[in-house]
């Protein structure tokens, strides 16, 4: 049976879902509750929701809205965006989320990963790693929805997150995001070669064959994608879609 997870990645901005390119130019996709309901009906493996302004605006998670999401989903839900306290994390679990995704807080205070793992268990703590390739061809680590650059080595940070107990990493090349030209395989391969926890590919999928390649050449355990599940046709009309189980099996 298929063990690779295929995960729609949904970006929350205010009260609506959006989709962008390279973490910019976000376009409204639709009502989030309805979107989640559709993915639930299509039996999506799991969903990840990122509130893209929560860290920048210093707001925490919108618990009321997130609770409504959880009410619609009988598959695992992950949430990331503006998380910086253990009580937020505990509350997310209570309202129905399985996993929380840490980005900015994990970079600025890596020990927070360890604290979160202590109360929640490794399997519930995901660290999200957003990078860009710089002029010299090396990767830079970013926080704050891709707006703040850090000097720490990306792969050292990934290993640190693993050592501190993170259960999985979701890894994204910002410049590939929304471009539908494929994932950054170099990045994925370097990550999976050095880590023993699962890595989820994010950012760049344009077709189902990108999923296959990410797993077989990149070594990832799961693939996340946005555009491919919300856009359809030459003119990028919005259509929420997700392959059924038989189609998923064929991809890999």
């Amino acid at each position: 049976m298929l063990s690779v997870r295929v995960i729609p990645s949904l970006l929350l901005k205010g009260q609506g879902f959006v989709k962008g390119k390279k973490f910019k130019d976000h376009r409204y996709i639709g009502d989030p509750i309805n979107t989640i309901r559709i993915f639930n009906d299509k039996q999506a493996d799991e969903l990840v929701v990122f509130d893209i302004n929560a860290t920048i605006n210093k707001t925490g998670p919108n618990f009321d809205l997130l609770k409504e999401f959880a009410n619609e989903a009988f598959m695992p839900l992950s949430y990331g965006g503006g998380l910086n306290s253990l009580s937020q994390i505990e509350k997310l679990f209570t309202i129905g989320f399985e996993k929380v995704v840490l980005n900015t807080c994990a970079i600025e205070n890596p020990n927070f990963i360890k604290e979160a793992v202590y109360i929640a268990g490794s399997s519930s703590i995901v660290v999200s790693i957003d990078v860009r390739k710089n002029f010299f061809g090396r990767y830079d680590l970013y926080s704050h929805s891709g707006t703040k650059k850090h000097t720490v080595n990306v792969f050292d940070f990934a290993k640190l997150a693993e050592d501190l107990g993170a259960g999985e990493l979701i890894v994204c090349n910002i410049d590939k995001e929304g471009m539908r030209s494929g994932y950054d395989l170099d990045l994925l391969r370097k990550m999976t070669e050095n880590l023993s926890i699962p890595v989820v590919a994010n950012g760049g999928a344009g077709s189902f064959s990108d999923f296959n390649v990410a797993v077989n050449l990149g070594g990832v355990s799961a693939v996340a994608a946005g555009s491919i599940f919300v856009y359809h046709g030459k003119l990028d009309g919005v259509l929420i879609q997700y392959p059924d189980y038989e189609e998923l099996v064929k991809i890999f």
């Binding site: 049976m1 009410n71 009988f74 679990f93 996993k99 109360i119 399997s123 519930s124 259960g167 699962p198």
Partner: protein, 203 residues
């Protein structure tokens, strides 16, 4: 009335929602009066073993739950960490478990796993054993969502009702009379979870 034990741990929202979807009234509670009258009891759980068992003891409910489960045959379902708490103890911590089913909890080891990663995260099969009524029904291709680094071991053959291939075939579901434990999350497993939860709630 289905009671989900409120001890400050676990994804309780989804269990309630799923129970309601199946037509059962479900409530999150730590009220002993309500629990004593429950038709079915569910123990969720997420996080680390010691943290969970200590929090459970702190509610003062353990003696009541032990009586209901082991002496009064009340249907009882432990989910994920909730299943692990049913055993004698875990490698993850130093505290004792409830000890209602003989067995122990250990971490997946890299030797047994070949190339698989820890935690075990994602959808996987459950191969039913011993014809438990938890898996009754026409659905042979069971798959459920798992998210854990530790699993049960040293459980009597008669008490094993499901195994899952991950490295070796580890024990993913147990039953001793009216006490059930599942390592996976039925409340996060779409229709497979609905079917299993329905089977439990009609006991």
């Amino acid at each position: 009335m289905v009671v989900i034990i409120d001890y400050g741990i676990g994804n309780t929202g989804s269990i309630i929602k799923m129970s309601e979807r199946l037509g059962f009234e479900a409530v999150l509670s730590k009220d002993p009066v309500l629990i004593a009258d429950a038709s079915h009891i569910i123990l969720p759980g997420v996080g680390s073993f010691d943290n969970a068992i200590l929090k459970l003891h702190n509610t003062g409910l353990v003696p009541l739950l032990t009586t209901l489960a082991t002496k009064e045959d009340r249907p009882f379902l432990g989910i994920c960490l909730g299943m692990q708490l049913l055993f004698n103890g875990s490698e993850e911590g130093i505290e004792s478990g409830l000890g209602w089913i003989d067995g122990h909890v250990i971490k997946f080891s890299t030797e047994e796993l070949n190339n698989h990663k820890i935690p075990h995260m994602g959808w996987n099969q459950v191969l039913p054993e011993n014809n438990s009524n938890l898996f009754r029904g026409s659905n042979k291709a069971y798959r459920f969502y798992f998210t854990h680094s530790y699993h049960a071991t040293n459980v009597a053959v008669d008490h094993v009702i499901g195994r899952t291939p991950y490295g070796n075939n580890f024990i993913s579901a147990v039953q001793r009379r009216n006490i059930y434990g599942v390592q996976f999350h039925p409340e996060k497993s779409h229709n497979f979870g609905l079917d299993l939860l329905r089977n439990f709630l009609i006991i």
